[in-house]
Amino acid sequence: MKILVCISKTPDTTAKIAFVDNNTKFAADGVQWIINPYDEWYALVRAIELKEKDPATVIHLVNVGGADTEPIIRKALALGGDEAIRVNFDSQDSFSIASQIAAIAKDGAYDLILTGKETLDFNGASIGGMLAELLDIPFISLATKLDLNGTIATVSREIEGGEEVAEAALPLVVSCQKGMAEQRIPNMKGIMGARTKPLKVVEPVAADPLTAIVGFELPPAKAGVKLVSADQPEELVRLLHEEAKLF
């Protein structure tokens, strides 16, 4: 069993979101970067759990990014990947990124490709679906559960107000979210071992971007909270009914 886990970096969840260069660039100065939590907590940890059940499993990590993402990749290796590939390419266009991963995946003949459901910065939720189409293999999105029985995967995916259970023969692309696994903390052995695990850097394939970000905006500031006395909750209900017209 060969699993490819797609890893992306994202600003720490408490990072201040601001923009520079006339609002065309994220203000990355002083920002702490983390592994995108969906990639780490759900996709990677589930891959590790599958490897724990079947030790013959090999987990490769792939990241599309500049050299500055290497600390993140090492952290992922510390959690449990066997080796990592970084495609030396920085882009904000999902299709160009998916094209890079597709090239890696074609070479690697993976049985299972896992992504997080989306990244916390661009919220595109796009890489998995694009990858599946580029590789001509099925895609199950927003998965909350994934089990393997030989080469058959059983997957639960979120739908409005519930879940859907489906099965598919591998190879398969799955985007992972809450429910799939629980967050883990890398241990000392993992951290030490990660230093010597292979991290291969490859140059990108040609891929024309389909989109370009022209600028960013922050949401308008809130007017401020209208406080109602705790002795008069009925006044709150009146405001919601008459002023905000919510019910």
């Binding site: 979101i17 927003l142 059983t154 909270v225």
Partner: protein
């Protein structure tokens, strides 16, 4: 040329988010002087001609028993064929669970740039620039789509559907379909609840409620006004509430008309999933709780004293 809108269904009924997508697509068609057409995949119990009320002129219905269960790959390919057949230059989908499953594949297949999570109509004055949410609701990006065909995933509840008059022409579309490689086994729905992602009103509880046994007042208020229920991550992690109710940066991201938060501190990660809500109400006994900074209305007080009174007042209002 046309704008093609994918109409997503659940159990043969059109989802609310698809009426939003239909209205959005129709407005865009008007803006770009083309025609709005729709595609419906799989069997439908809905009267599809009524999509005309939302500005759709023609509905392509692809009905085949292989399409009765949703499969991302199969649906993507069918919609790709319809896109080509009606020479659509824009495809609009709701950025809901199925939209997120289809749109990226369609983008790769048609080499069409995708903007997932659009919040308003494109600016077509100079290019094709669509505003979308980024940084989990903390900012917006304006994205220019460079390819001849454009795909827009519209954020649910970001665009109000406008119903007028009109009847759409419904035509059967014959697609070439390969047997789905994903086999549907079961659909498990939580009975009698409003799905969080579709809800206009949401009542949510945090660790301030002390334990799952105290959720009665959250559920009662939700029941009275027809709201869905949600919770903080701390609550889902403690297994007081099911995981699907968890909202925030690492849970569901929602933008209802009302987000009513009880005993939730308003940590930055929580806010990230709910800060696009139109009206935020916070009930918290700590006047310093960060949530008040993001709120429109608030009560500083003990939820166990305030909530029963809120419920009574709503009952009175509803004449119950």
């Amino acid at each position: 040329m046309s704008v093609l809108i994918y109409i997503d269904q659940a159990e043969g009924q059109i989802k609310k988010s698809s009426f939003e997508a239909a209205s959005y697509g129709a407005r865009l068609a008007e803006q770009t002087s083309t025609q709005a057409e729709a595609v419906v995949v799989g069997n439908s119990s809905a009267d599809l001609s009524m999509l005309g009320k939302y500005g759709i002129k023609k509905v392509h219905h692809v009905n085949n028993e292989m399409l009765n269960h949703f499969d991302a790959q199969t649906y993507t390919r069918v919609i790709g064929q319809v896109t080509e057949a009606c020479q659509a230059t824009v495809v609009v989908l709701s950025n809901n669970v199925n939209g997120k499953a289809i749109a990226p594949g369609l983008s790769a297949r048609l080499k069409a740039g995708l903007v997932a999570g659009a919040v308003s109509l494109p600016d077509t004055s100079n290019g094709f620039v669509v505003k979308k949410g980024v940084f989990s609701g903390k900012a917006f990006a304006n994205v220019n789509v460079l390819s001849p065909i454009k795909i827009i995933g519209l954020t649910p509840n970001a665009f109000s559907p406008v119903a007028g008059e009109g009847t759409a022409e419904v035509v059967a579309f014959n697609a070439s379909i390969d047997a789905p490689r994903v086999k549907h086994l079961a659909t498990n729905k939580v009975q009698g609840q409003i799905p969080l992602s579709e809800a206009e009103l949401v009542i949510s509880g945090g660790r301030g409620l002390k334990g799952s046994e105290n959720w009665g007042m959250i559920e009662e208020l939700a029941g009275l006004i027809g709201a869905a229920t949600a919770c903080s991550r701390a609550v889902a992690d403690a297994h007081w509430r099911p995981h699907h109710e968890h909202v925030g940066q690492t849970g569901g991201s929602i933008a209802p008309n009302l987000y009513f938060a009880v005993g939730i501190s308003g940590a930055i990660q929580h806010l990230a999933g709910v800060n696009r809500s139109k009206v935020i109400v916070v009930i918290n006994k700590d006047p310093e709780a960060p949530f008040f900074k993001a709120a429109d209305y608030g009560i500083v007080g003990d939820a166990f004293e305030v909530m029963p009174k809120v419920i009574d007042a709503v009952k009175k209002l509803k004449g119950a």
